[in-house]
Amino acid sequence: MQSEAKIHTEHGTDSSPQGPGCSLRHFACEQNLLSRPDGSASFLQGDTSVLAGVYGPAEVKVSKEIFNKATLEVILRPKIGLPGVAEKSRERLIRNTCEAVVLGALHPRTSITIVLQVISDAGSLMACCLNATCMALVDAGVPMQALFCGVTCALDSDGTLVLDPTAKQEKEARAVLTFALDSVDQKLLMSTTKGLYSNAELQQCLAAAQAASQHVFRFYRESLQRRYSKN
């Protein structure tokens, strides 16, 4: 399976995995684009774009400090309007996913803050947020035990599976499932679903997501290799 990677800017890479059996949209990533945060990344999936910034490990308020590990905080800002209950729910999902992979024990009594801004939403927003978060954490140099990626699957009314759906496909789908998988053995870290589906369909989606996550991890690796290799 050929995967084309072009260097976009000094710190960015592109990828179009168009091999047989893979239907992910074109994705691109740019790191270290903001000067104030310790780490930042912009992740593009088709037309969906999310900007993530990471501050940390930094000072933590005494009321929030945990004696043996770092306190993680996630702030998700929607493109329009004020953050609401749905954003709080998504922040909790991303925070718990990060807590599972970030080695917080190496930085006790500190805080790691992840701020996400939705630039444009054209489907698979949660997956894009997860990918941007991972890339930003890597850029900030936060120690992690594994990388993680987000993959969205949509099931339409006749049971066909679509990976990385667009906004239109998500709206017409019977069920939309988003998974976060880790890079070591593709275990399921986080899952959030919408709509009704059967157990068999869940297994099918999970298997497809695990296969697709390989592409995303390969893209991460190439992106970072290009960034750190001396030309």
Binding site: K88, S89, I94, T97, C98, L188, T193, K194, L196, Q203
Partner: protein, 276 residues
Amino acid sequence: MAAGFKTVEPLEYYRRFLKKNCRADGRELGEFTTTTVNIGSVSTADGSALVKLGNTAVICGIKAEFAAPPPDAPDKGYVVPNVDLPPLCSSRFRSGPPGEEAQVASQFIADVIENSQIILKEDLCISPGKLAWVLYCDLICLDYDGNILDACTFALLAALKNVQLPEVTINEETALAEANLKKKRYLNIRTHPVATSFAVFDDTLLIVDPTGEEEHLATGTLTVVMDEEGKLCCLHKPGGSGLTGAKLQDCLSRAVTRHKEVKKLMDEVIKSMKAK
């Protein structure tokens, strides 16, 4: 002496029990605590239910009011859930605006209602474009000892089954709605979603129906919402340690058995109510 050990090393204390395949309160790893449900206790609400899962107690009250249907869906009504975790239920909650836990739980219940299609929003419409019912579902936790999502889902389902809506006719001359309080109908509940929560310990062990302390020490949680045909409405796994496909399958089969238990319990209670 055990109490001292529990305070100093809570994780080690629980591990000792888990090694022998049982839990600190004497349950098996896959056993639920006693579930108690009381339907129709709040007389001022249109529908209500009180659910106790072990020590966790949640009361759900449903009020029906009139509203104009949304402009983009003139033949639909509204179902507005709200989960409240007051300082009464646990020392970790303060008074003031809803904290993160309450907001996440409210969003979860809203998702369950939306995904499972428990009631058709079209059933709540009285006159398309002019009048529809809005059901305000308020879930208040009275005692927080873990597994709040299961308790809330069950309370909501039981309360919805208890709701009786009066028949509404629109008077032609005055164009006002008149509710006939003598003629009331039950809601058409299409599916029965039941939630089953699990906690993951040390990345390997799965326990069902965690208590508050177990949830605090767990490395991850998972909630599965299933309806009677075995279809999943929600697979809510907010981060935490990774799960393999096989472990996920175990959880799903446990959720199927739990659904049967809960459905049986609820049918018994409703039957005993109607018999009065």
